[in-house]
Protein backbone atom coordinates (compact mmCIF):
# COMPACT_ATOMS: atom_id res chain seq x y z
CA UNK A 1 0.00 0.00 0.00
CA UNK A 2 2.60 2.51 1.13
CA UNK A 3 4.89 1.44 -1.68
CA UNK A 4 2.15 2.24 -4.19
CA UNK A 5 1.47 5.57 -2.52
CA UNK A 6 5.15 6.52 -2.63
CA UNK A 7 5.35 5.47 -6.27
CA UNK A 8 2.28 7.50 -7.23
CA UNK A 9 3.60 10.58 -5.41
CA UNK A 10 6.99 10.29 -7.10
CA UNK A 11 5.39 9.69 -10.49
CA UNK A 12 3.19 12.75 -10.06
CA UNK A 13 6.23 14.77 -9.00
CA UNK A 14 7.89 13.69 -12.24
CA UNK A 15 5.01 14.02 -14.68
CA UNK A 16 3.05 17.09 -13.55
CA UNK A 17 6.01 19.52 -13.68
CA UNK A 18 6.99 17.91 -17.01
CA UNK A 19 3.73 19.20 -18.45
CA UNK A 20 4.53 22.56 -16.93
CA UNK A 21 7.94 22.50 -18.66
CA UNK A 22 6.29 21.93 -22.02
CA UNK A 23 3.28 24.23 -21.73
CA UNK A 24 4.57 27.14 -19.68
CA UNK A 25 4.74 30.40 -21.63
CA UNK A 26 7.51 31.63 -19.38
CA UNK A 27 10.74 29.88 -20.33
CA UNK A 28 12.36 30.53 -16.93
CA UNK A 29 9.37 28.91 -15.22
CA UNK A 30 9.85 25.96 -17.54
CA UNK A 31 13.48 25.76 -16.41
CA UNK A 32 12.56 25.80 -12.75
CA UNK A 33 9.78 23.24 -13.28
CA UNK A 34 12.47 20.95 -14.69
CA UNK A 35 13.93 20.88 -11.17
CA UNK A 36 10.91 18.93 -9.86
CA UNK A 37 10.94 16.51 -12.77
CA UNK A 38 14.64 15.76 -12.25
CA UNK A 39 14.20 15.34 -8.49
CA UNK A 40 11.20 13.09 -9.18
CA UNK A 41 13.27 10.90 -11.51
CA UNK A 42 15.98 10.69 -8.82
CA UNK A 43 13.28 9.65 -6.36
CA UNK A 44 12.07 6.94 -8.74
CA UNK A 45 15.62 5.59 -9.07
CA UNK A 46 15.91 5.52 -5.30
CA UNK A 47 12.51 3.83 -5.08
CA UNK A 48 13.76 1.08 -7.41
CA UNK A 49 16.78 0.45 -5.19
CA UNK A 50 19.32 2.17 -7.45
CA UNK A 51 20.71 4.43 -4.73
CA UNK A 52 23.93 5.39 -6.50
CA UNK A 53 22.06 6.26 -9.68
CA UNK A 54 19.57 8.39 -7.71
CA UNK A 55 22.25 10.48 -6.04
CA UNK A 56 24.22 10.77 -9.29
CA UNK A 57 21.06 12.00 -11.00
CA UNK A 58 20.81 14.75 -8.37
CA UNK A 59 24.50 15.60 -8.61
CA UNK A 60 24.73 15.71 -12.40
CA UNK A 61 21.31 16.94 -13.48
CA UNK A 62 20.25 19.22 -10.63
CA UNK A 63 23.73 20.39 -9.64
CA UNK A 64 25.18 20.71 -13.11
CA UNK A 65 22.88 20.53 -16.11
CA UNK A 66 19.94 22.40 -14.60
CA UNK A 67 22.15 25.26 -13.39
CA UNK A 68 23.58 25.57 -16.91
CA UNK A 69 20.09 25.47 -18.43
CA UNK A 70 18.90 28.17 -16.03
CA UNK A 71 21.91 30.36 -16.76
CA UNK A 72 21.30 30.09 -20.50
CA UNK A 73 17.57 30.68 -20.19
CA UNK A 74 18.03 33.71 -17.94
CA UNK A 75 20.52 35.29 -20.33
CA UNK A 76 18.18 34.85 -23.30
CA UNK A 77 15.00 35.73 -21.43
CA UNK A 78 12.36 37.58 -23.48
CA UNK A 79 10.15 40.00 -21.51
CA UNK A 80 6.51 38.95 -21.12
CA UNK A 81 5.13 41.62 -23.45
CA UNK A 82 7.17 40.48 -26.46
CA UNK A 83 6.14 36.85 -26.29
CA UNK A 84 3.84 35.90 -29.13
CA UNK A 85 0.98 33.47 -28.86
CA UNK A 86 1.36 30.59 -31.25
CA UNK A 87 -1.42 29.17 -33.37
CA UNK A 88 -2.37 25.54 -33.92
CA UNK A 89 0.40 25.14 -36.51
CA UNK A 90 2.92 25.41 -33.70
CA UNK A 91 1.26 22.70 -31.66
CA UNK A 92 0.36 20.02 -34.18
CA UNK A 93 3.79 18.97 -35.57
CA UNK A 94 5.44 18.61 -32.13
CA UNK A 95 2.37 16.79 -30.84
CA UNK A 96 2.48 14.33 -33.73
CA UNK A 97 6.20 13.81 -33.25
CA UNK A 98 5.79 13.31 -29.50
CA UNK A 99 2.95 10.83 -30.09
CA UNK A 100 5.14 8.91 -32.55
CA UNK A 101 8.05 8.74 -30.07
CA UNK A 102 5.64 7.64 -27.36
CA UNK A 103 4.26 4.93 -29.65
CA UNK A 104 7.73 3.56 -30.42
CA UNK A 105 8.76 3.64 -26.75
CA UNK A 106 5.53 1.95 -25.72
CA UNK A 107 6.06 -0.76 -28.32
CA UNK A 108 9.63 -1.32 -27.11
CA UNK A 109 8.64 -1.41 -23.45
CA UNK A 110 5.85 -3.90 -24.01
CA UNK A 111 7.82 -6.04 -26.50
CA UNK A 112 10.91 -6.55 -24.32
CA UNK A 113 10.74 -9.42 -21.88
CA UNK A 114 11.78 -7.69 -18.65
CA UNK A 115 13.48 -9.48 -15.82
CA UNK A 116 10.89 -8.52 -13.23
CA UNK A 117 11.50 -9.17 -9.57
CA UNK A 118 11.49 -7.63 -6.15
CA UNK A 119 13.74 -4.53 -6.17
CA UNK A 120 16.87 -5.19 -4.16
CA UNK A 121 17.67 -2.61 -1.50
CA UNK A 122 21.31 -3.68 -1.15
CA UNK A 123 23.82 -0.84 -1.65
CA UNK A 124 25.11 -0.72 -5.21
CA UNK A 125 28.15 1.56 -4.94
CA UNK A 126 30.77 -1.12 -4.29
CA UNK A 127 29.48 -3.29 -7.11
CA UNK A 128 29.40 -0.35 -9.55
CA UNK A 129 32.95 0.62 -8.57
CA UNK A 130 34.23 -2.93 -8.99
CA UNK A 131 32.52 -3.35 -12.36
CA UNK A 132 33.86 0.00 -13.63
CA UNK A 133 37.41 -0.95 -12.69
CA UNK A 134 37.26 -4.52 -14.06
CA UNK A 135 34.69 -5.51 -16.71
CA UNK A 136 33.89 -2.03 -17.96
CA UNK A 137 37.27 -0.36 -17.59
CA UNK A 138 37.65 0.18 -21.35
CA UNK A 139 34.26 1.88 -21.92
CA UNK A 140 34.87 3.91 -18.77
CA UNK A 141 38.23 5.19 -19.97
CA UNK A 142 36.88 5.67 -23.49
CA UNK A 143 34.06 7.90 -22.18
CA UNK A 144 36.59 9.82 -20.08
CA UNK A 145 38.67 10.57 -23.16
CA UNK A 146 35.60 11.65 -25.16
CA UNK A 147 34.57 13.99 -22.34
CA UNK A 148 38.10 15.36 -22.04
CA UNK A 149 38.16 16.03 -25.77
CA UNK A 150 34.80 17.81 -25.52
CA UNK A 151 36.12 19.95 -22.67
CA UNK A 152 39.29 20.91 -24.54
CA UNK A 153 37.19 21.65 -27.63
CA UNK A 154 34.84 23.92 -25.69
CA UNK A 155 37.80 25.77 -24.17
CA UNK A 156 39.39 26.29 -27.60
CA UNK A 157 36.11 27.55 -29.12
CA UNK A 158 35.63 30.08 -26.33
CA UNK A 159 39.25 31.22 -26.45
CA UNK A 160 39.18 31.82 -30.19
CA UNK A 161 36.03 33.88 -30.04
CA UNK A 162 37.09 36.04 -27.12
CA UNK A 163 40.52 36.40 -28.70
CA UNK A 164 39.01 37.60 -32.00
CA UNK A 165 36.90 40.22 -30.24
CA UNK A 166 39.65 41.66 -28.06
CA UNK A 167 41.62 44.83 -28.76
CA UNK A 168 44.81 42.81 -29.05
CA UNK A 169 43.39 40.77 -31.89
CA UNK A 170 42.22 43.87 -33.76
CA UNK A 171 45.64 45.44 -33.30
CA UNK A 172 47.28 42.27 -34.56
CA UNK A 173 45.06 42.23 -37.61
CA UNK A 174 45.99 45.84 -38.34
CA UNK A 175 49.66 44.98 -38.02
CA UNK A 176 49.27 42.09 -40.41
CA UNK A 177 47.38 44.26 -42.89
CA UNK A 178 50.30 46.69 -43.05
CA UNK A 179 52.57 46.18 -46.05
Amino acid sequence: MIRDLVFVLLALLTVVPAFWVVFSRNIVHAGFALLFTLVGVAGLYGFLGADFLAVTQLMVYVGGVLVLVLFTVMMTHVPAAKRSRHGLDRYVPPAVFAAAVFGVLYKVITAVKWNVGEASTAPTTTEIGTQLMTNYVFPFEYVSIVLLAAMVGAAILIRERSHAGSDDAIAEEKQEARP
Binding site: H29, L35, F52, V55, M59, G63, V67, L70, P123, T125
Partner: protein
Protein backbone atom coordinates in the same frame (compact mmCIF):
# COMPACT_ATOMS: atom_id res chain seq x y z
CA UNK B 1 18.11 4.94 16.22
CA UNK B 2 17.80 1.25 17.13
CA UNK B 3 16.46 2.32 20.52
CA UNK B 4 13.91 4.64 18.99
CA UNK B 5 12.89 1.98 16.47
CA UNK B 6 12.43 -0.56 19.25
CA UNK B 7 10.35 1.93 21.21
CA UNK B 8 7.98 2.40 18.28
CA UNK B 9 7.70 -1.30 17.49
CA UNK B 10 7.68 -2.55 21.09
CA UNK B 11 5.91 0.06 23.20
CA UNK B 12 3.53 1.43 20.58
CA UNK B 13 3.08 -1.80 18.62
CA UNK B 14 3.72 -0.37 15.16
CA UNK B 15 4.81 -2.53 12.22
CA UNK B 16 8.18 -2.01 10.49
CA UNK B 17 6.93 0.56 7.96
CA UNK B 18 5.08 2.58 10.56
CA UNK B 19 8.06 2.53 12.90
CA UNK B 20 10.41 3.63 10.12
CA UNK B 21 8.15 6.52 9.17
CA UNK B 22 7.80 7.53 12.83
CA UNK B 23 11.56 7.44 13.42
CA UNK B 24 12.11 9.52 10.28
CA UNK B 25 9.51 12.10 11.39
CA UNK B 26 10.97 12.39 14.88
CA UNK B 27 14.48 12.78 13.46
CA UNK B 28 13.28 15.43 11.00
CA UNK B 29 11.76 17.46 13.85
CA UNK B 30 14.93 17.07 15.95
CA UNK B 31 17.16 18.11 13.04
CA UNK B 32 15.05 21.15 12.24
CA UNK B 33 15.03 22.25 15.87
CA UNK B 34 18.78 21.80 16.22
CA UNK B 35 19.25 23.74 12.99
CA UNK B 36 17.15 26.68 14.18
CA UNK B 37 18.87 26.68 17.58
CA UNK B 38 22.30 26.55 16.01
CA UNK B 39 21.44 29.52 13.79
CA UNK B 40 20.52 31.52 16.90
CA UNK B 41 23.71 30.51 18.72
CA UNK B 42 25.87 31.16 15.69
CA UNK B 43 24.47 34.67 15.05
CA UNK B 44 25.33 35.62 18.61
CA UNK B 45 28.74 33.96 18.27
CA UNK B 46 29.40 35.73 14.99
CA UNK B 47 28.68 39.13 16.49
CA UNK B 48 30.86 38.45 19.51
CA UNK B 49 33.71 37.12 17.36
CA UNK B 50 33.40 40.10 15.01
CA UNK B 51 33.51 42.42 18.01
CA UNK B 52 36.55 40.62 19.41
CA UNK B 53 38.38 40.81 16.07
CA UNK B 54 37.65 44.52 15.79
CA UNK B 55 38.47 45.44 19.43
CA UNK B 56 34.89 46.15 20.45
CA UNK B 57 32.30 44.38 22.53
CA UNK B 58 29.43 43.41 20.24
CA UNK B 59 26.03 43.01 21.92
CA UNK B 60 26.40 43.47 25.70
CA UNK B 61 23.06 44.33 27.31
CA UNK B 62 20.20 42.02 26.25
CA UNK B 63 19.93 39.17 28.74
CA UNK B 64 22.65 40.57 31.09
CA UNK B 65 25.45 38.06 30.38
CA UNK B 66 27.37 39.39 27.34
CA UNK B 67 24.12 40.04 25.49
CA UNK B 68 23.37 36.35 25.02
CA UNK B 69 19.66 37.06 24.37
CA UNK B 70 20.35 39.48 21.52
CA UNK B 71 19.98 36.76 18.88
CA UNK B 72 16.68 35.62 20.39
CA UNK B 73 15.44 39.22 20.46
CA UNK B 74 16.48 39.63 16.82
CA UNK B 75 14.59 36.50 15.86
CA UNK B 76 11.44 37.75 17.61
CA UNK B 77 11.83 41.13 15.95
CA UNK B 78 12.19 39.59 12.50
CA UNK B 79 8.98 37.56 13.05
CA UNK B 80 7.03 40.77 13.45
CA UNK B 81 8.43 42.50 10.37
CA UNK B 82 6.28 43.31 7.39
CA UNK B 83 6.49 40.78 4.59
CA UNK B 84 7.11 42.78 1.43
CA UNK B 85 6.83 41.18 -2.00
CA UNK B 86 7.91 43.52 -4.81
CA UNK B 87 5.09 44.32 -7.25
CA UNK B 88 7.12 43.42 -10.35
CA UNK B 89 8.59 40.25 -8.91
CA UNK B 90 7.73 36.73 -9.95
CA UNK B 91 5.56 36.01 -6.91
CA UNK B 92 5.44 32.22 -6.93
CA UNK B 93 9.17 31.77 -7.40
CA UNK B 94 9.88 34.62 -4.99
CA UNK B 95 8.00 32.79 -2.24
CA UNK B 96 9.42 29.38 -3.08
CA UNK B 97 13.13 30.31 -3.29
CA UNK B 98 13.83 30.69 0.47
CA UNK B 99 12.18 27.32 1.11
CA UNK B 100 14.36 25.65 -1.50
CA UNK B 101 17.53 27.16 -0.05
CA UNK B 102 16.63 25.96 3.43
CA UNK B 103 15.54 22.56 2.11
CA UNK B 104 18.94 22.04 0.48
CA UNK B 105 20.79 22.39 3.76
CA UNK B 106 18.20 20.52 5.84
CA UNK B 107 18.36 17.52 3.49
CA UNK B 108 22.13 17.46 3.88
CA UNK B 109 21.78 17.57 7.67
CA UNK B 110 20.00 14.24 7.52
CA UNK B 111 23.23 12.34 6.83
CA UNK B 112 25.37 13.79 9.65
CA UNK B 113 26.39 11.11 12.16
CA UNK B 114 26.04 12.86 15.52
CA UNK B 115 26.91 9.85 17.63
CA UNK B 116 27.25 6.10 17.12
CA UNK B 117 23.87 4.94 15.80
CA UNK B 118 22.34 8.41 15.87
CA UNK B 119 21.97 9.42 12.22
CA UNK B 120 18.70 10.54 10.65
CA UNK B 121 19.55 8.81 7.36
CA UNK B 122 22.22 6.17 7.83
CA UNK B 123 22.93 4.92 4.35
CA UNK B 124 25.91 3.87 2.34
CA UNK B 125 26.10 6.89 0.07
CA UNK B 126 25.94 9.50 2.86
CA UNK B 127 28.89 11.68 1.88
CA UNK B 128 28.05 11.65 -1.83
CA UNK B 129 24.44 12.42 -0.96
CA UNK B 130 25.44 15.43 1.17
CA UNK B 131 27.37 16.96 -1.73
CA UNK B 132 24.55 16.17 -4.16
CA UNK B 133 21.65 17.72 -2.24
CA UNK B 134 23.69 20.83 -1.48
CA UNK B 135 23.18 21.70 -5.15
CA UNK B 136 19.53 22.50 -4.39
CA UNK B 137 20.87 25.59 -2.62
CA UNK B 138 22.39 26.79 -5.92
CA UNK B 139 19.02 26.48 -7.66
CA UNK B 140 17.32 28.28 -4.76
CA UNK B 141 19.77 31.17 -4.98
CA UNK B 142 19.29 31.47 -8.74
CA UNK B 143 15.53 31.39 -8.20
CA UNK B 144 15.67 34.11 -5.54
CA UNK B 145 17.85 36.35 -7.67
CA UNK B 146 15.76 35.98 -10.78
CA UNK B 147 12.35 36.23 -9.11
CA UNK B 148 13.29 39.44 -7.29
CA UNK B 149 13.42 41.23 -10.66
CA UNK B 150 16.28 43.37 -9.43
CA UNK B 151 19.65 43.88 -11.08
CA UNK B 152 21.64 43.54 -7.89
CA UNK B 153 19.80 40.41 -6.90
CA UNK B 154 20.36 38.86 -10.33
CA UNK B 155 24.06 39.73 -10.31
CA UNK B 156 24.37 38.32 -6.82
CA UNK B 157 22.58 35.13 -7.84
CA UNK B 158 24.70 34.68 -10.98
CA UNK B 159 27.89 35.18 -8.98
CA UNK B 160 26.65 32.92 -6.21
CA UNK B 161 25.69 30.10 -8.54
CA UNK B 162 28.94 30.34 -10.52
CA UNK B 163 30.97 30.36 -7.31
CA UNK B 164 29.10 27.49 -5.71
CA UNK B 165 29.21 25.15 -8.69
CA UNK B 166 32.93 25.91 -9.11
CA UNK B 167 33.88 25.32 -5.49
CA UNK B 168 31.77 22.19 -5.23
CA UNK B 169 34.49 20.44 -7.27
CA UNK B 170 37.48 21.00 -4.92
CA UNK B 171 35.14 20.46 -1.96
CA UNK B 172 34.12 17.01 -3.16
CA UNK B 173 37.61 16.14 -4.47
CA UNK B 174 39.17 16.99 -1.09
CA UNK B 175 36.92 14.42 0.56
CA UNK B 176 37.87 11.67 -1.92
CA UNK B 177 41.23 10.71 -0.25
CA UNK B 178 39.34 10.19 3.01
CA UNK B 179 36.84 7.94 1.27
CA UNK B 180 39.77 5.99 -0.17
CA UNK B 181 41.29 5.62 3.29
CA UNK B 182 38.07 4.61 5.05
CA UNK B 183 36.98 2.42 2.14
CA UNK B 184 33.41 3.68 2.47
CA UNK B 185 31.14 6.59 1.63
CA UNK B 186 29.06 6.00 4.74
CA UNK B 187 29.70 8.90 7.21
CA UNK B 188 29.49 6.57 10.22
CA UNK B 189 32.10 4.23 8.72
CA UNK B 190 34.38 7.18 7.95
CA UNK B 191 34.21 8.22 11.61
CA UNK B 192 34.63 4.67 12.92
CA UNK B 193 37.75 4.28 10.76
CA UNK B 194 39.35 7.11 12.76
CA UNK B 195 38.98 5.47 16.17
CA UNK B 196 41.88 5.60 18.63
CA UNK B 197 42.65 9.22 19.45
CA UNK B 198 44.10 12.19 17.61
CA UNK B 199 46.88 10.04 16.11
CA UNK B 200 44.38 8.13 14.00
CA UNK B 201 42.41 11.11 12.72
CA UNK B 202 42.59 11.62 9.00
CA UNK B 203 44.27 15.01 9.38
CA UNK B 204 47.44 13.48 10.87
CA UNK B 205 50.19 14.52 8.39
CA UNK B 206 52.48 11.64 9.35
CA UNK B 207 50.00 8.91 8.41
CA UNK B 208 49.26 10.58 5.12
CA UNK B 209 50.46 14.10 4.27
CA UNK B 210 48.04 14.36 1.34
CA UNK B 211 45.07 14.13 3.67
CA UNK B 212 46.58 17.00 5.64
CA UNK B 213 46.66 19.14 2.47
CA UNK B 214 43.18 17.94 1.54
CA UNK B 215 41.86 19.29 4.84
CA UNK B 216 42.97 22.80 3.95
CA UNK B 217 41.59 22.46 0.44
CA UNK B 218 38.29 21.39 1.97
CA UNK B 219 38.31 24.24 4.47
CA UNK B 220 38.97 26.95 1.86
CA UNK B 221 36.38 25.50 -0.51
CA UNK B 222 33.85 25.29 2.30
CA UNK B 223 34.22 29.00 3.02
CA UNK B 224 33.51 29.74 -0.63
CA UNK B 225 30.67 27.22 -0.71
CA UNK B 226 28.87 28.99 2.14
CA UNK B 227 29.34 32.37 0.43
CA UNK B 228 31.17 33.85 3.39
CA UNK B 229 34.08 36.26 3.54
CA UNK B 230 36.64 36.55 2.03
CA UNK B 231 34.61 34.88 -0.72
CA UNK B 232 31.30 36.68 -0.13
CA UNK B 233 31.12 37.94 -3.71
CA UNK B 234 27.37 37.19 -4.03
CA UNK B 235 26.62 39.56 -1.15
CA UNK B 236 29.22 42.32 -1.49
CA UNK B 237 27.55 45.20 0.34
CA UNK B 238 29.67 47.78 -1.44
CA UNK B 239 28.58 46.67 -4.91
CA UNK B 240 25.36 44.68 -4.77
CA UNK B 241 23.48 46.00 -1.69
CA UNK B 242 22.89 42.51 -0.31
CA UNK B 243 23.09 40.26 -3.38
CA UNK B 244 20.39 37.71 -4.06
CA UNK B 245 18.35 38.50 -0.94
CA UNK B 246 18.22 42.26 -1.52
CA UNK B 247 14.43 42.28 -1.93
CA UNK B 248 13.62 39.91 0.91
CA UNK B 249 12.21 41.06 4.25
CA UNK B 250 10.91 39.53 7.45
CA UNK B 251 10.62 35.76 7.68
CA UNK B 252 11.67 35.16 4.09
CA UNK B 253 14.93 36.97 4.76
CA UNK B 254 15.25 35.00 7.99
CA UNK B 255 15.08 31.81 5.92
CA UNK B 256 18.16 32.86 3.94
CA UNK B 257 19.87 33.84 7.15
CA UNK B 258 18.99 30.51 8.75
CA UNK B 259 20.19 28.66 5.67
CA UNK B 260 23.51 30.53 5.70
CA UNK B 261 24.26 29.53 9.29
CA UNK B 262 22.87 26.04 8.81
CA UNK B 263 25.24 25.65 5.87
CA UNK B 264 28.16 27.08 7.81
CA UNK B 265 27.55 24.60 10.61
CA UNK B 266 27.00 21.79 8.10
CA UNK B 267 30.31 22.25 6.27
CA UNK B 268 32.13 22.56 9.60
CA UNK B 269 30.52 19.37 10.88
CA UNK B 270 31.47 17.57 7.67
CA UNK B 271 35.06 18.75 8.09
CA UNK B 272 35.03 17.55 11.71
CA UNK B 273 33.53 14.24 10.63
CA UNK B 274 35.79 13.65 7.64
CA UNK B 275 39.13 14.95 8.92
CA UNK B 276 38.94 15.46 12.68
CA UNK B 277 37.66 12.12 13.86
CA UNK B 278 33.94 12.89 14.19
CA UNK B 279 32.59 11.82 17.55
CA UNK B 280 35.90 10.47 18.94
CA UNK B 281 37.63 12.51 21.64
CA UNK B 282 41.31 13.44 21.04
CA UNK B 283 42.51 11.00 23.70
CA UNK B 284 40.81 7.57 23.81
CA UNK B 285 40.39 7.75 27.62
CA UNK B 286 38.20 10.83 27.31
CA UNK B 287 35.67 8.87 25.27
CA UNK B 288 34.38 7.45 28.54
CA UNK B 289 33.54 10.87 29.97
CA UNK B 290 32.57 13.06 27.03
CA UNK B 291 29.33 12.16 25.21
CA UNK B 292 30.20 11.48 21.55
CA UNK B 293 27.78 14.10 20.21
CA UNK B 294 29.38 16.72 22.48
CA UNK B 295 32.93 16.14 21.28
CA UNK B 296 31.65 16.17 17.69
CA UNK B 297 29.86 19.50 18.22
CA UNK B 298 32.89 21.01 19.97
CA UNK B 299 35.05 20.19 16.95
CA UNK B 300 32.40 21.62 14.63
CA UNK B 301 32.21 24.80 16.69
CA UNK B 302 36.00 25.21 16.66
CA UNK B 303 35.91 25.06 12.87
CA UNK B 304 33.01 27.54 12.82
CA UNK B 305 35.15 29.86 14.94
CA UNK B 306 38.04 29.43 12.50
CA UNK B 307 35.67 30.27 9.67
CA UNK B 308 34.50 33.45 11.43
CA UNK B 309 38.08 34.35 12.24
CA UNK B 310 38.95 34.16 8.54
CA UNK B 311 35.84 36.12 7.59
CA UNK B 312 36.57 39.04 9.89
CA UNK B 313 40.31 39.11 9.18
CA UNK B 314 40.81 38.89 5.43
CA UNK B 315 39.70 41.41 2.81
CA UNK B 316 37.32 40.28 0.08
CA UNK B 317 38.82 38.87 -3.12
CA UNK B 318 37.80 39.93 -6.63
CA UNK B 319 35.63 37.75 -8.88
CA UNK B 320 38.49 36.91 -11.25
CA UNK B 321 40.82 36.11 -8.34
CA UNK B 322 38.11 33.84 -6.94
CA UNK B 323 37.79 31.88 -10.19
CA UNK B 324 41.55 31.80 -10.68
CA UNK B 325 41.98 30.35 -7.19
CA UNK B 326 39.35 27.71 -7.78
CA UNK B 327 40.13 26.45 -11.27
CA UNK B 328 43.86 27.00 -11.49
CA UNK B 329 45.01 26.36 -7.93
CA UNK B 330 42.55 24.41 -5.83
CA UNK B 331 41.25 21.88 -8.36
CA UNK B 332 44.77 20.85 -9.53
CA UNK B 333 46.00 20.63 -5.92
CA UNK B 334 42.93 18.59 -4.92
CA UNK B 335 43.44 16.23 -7.86
CA UNK B 336 47.08 15.91 -6.85
CA UNK B 337 45.91 15.05 -3.33
CA UNK B 338 43.69 12.27 -4.67
CA UNK B 339 46.49 10.74 -6.76
CA UNK B 340 49.13 11.35 -4.07
CA UNK B 341 47.01 9.85 -1.32
CA UNK B 342 46.40 6.77 -3.47
CA UNK B 343 50.09 6.29 -4.23
CA UNK B 344 51.04 6.90 -0.58
CA UNK B 345 48.54 4.36 0.68
CA UNK B 346 49.64 1.81 -1.90
CA UNK B 347 53.32 2.33 -1.03
CA UNK B 348 52.71 1.94 2.70
CA UNK B 349 50.16 -0.81 2.32
CA UNK B 350 47.36 1.14 4.00
CA UNK B 351 44.82 0.31 1.30
CA UNK B 352 41.71 -1.54 2.36
Amino acid sequence: MKLMYDFFTGQLGLDATGANISVASVMAVIMFTVMALCAIVLTWMERKVAGFMQSRYGPMYTGRFHGWAQAVADMLKILGKEDIIPAESDKGLFKFAPILVLLGSLLAWAAIPWAPDFVAADFDLGLFYIFAVSSLVVIGILMAGWASNNKWALYGAARGAAQMISYEIPLALAAVPVVMRAGSLNPSDIVIAQQGGIWHWNINPITNPFLFIAFFMYFIASIAETNRGPFDMPETESELVAGYHTEYTGMRFAFFFLAEYANLFLVSMIAAMVFLGGWWAPIPVLDRFIPPALSFIIKGMLLVFLNMWVRWTLPRVRVDQLMHLCWKVMIPVSLLCVVGAGVWMMALGQLK
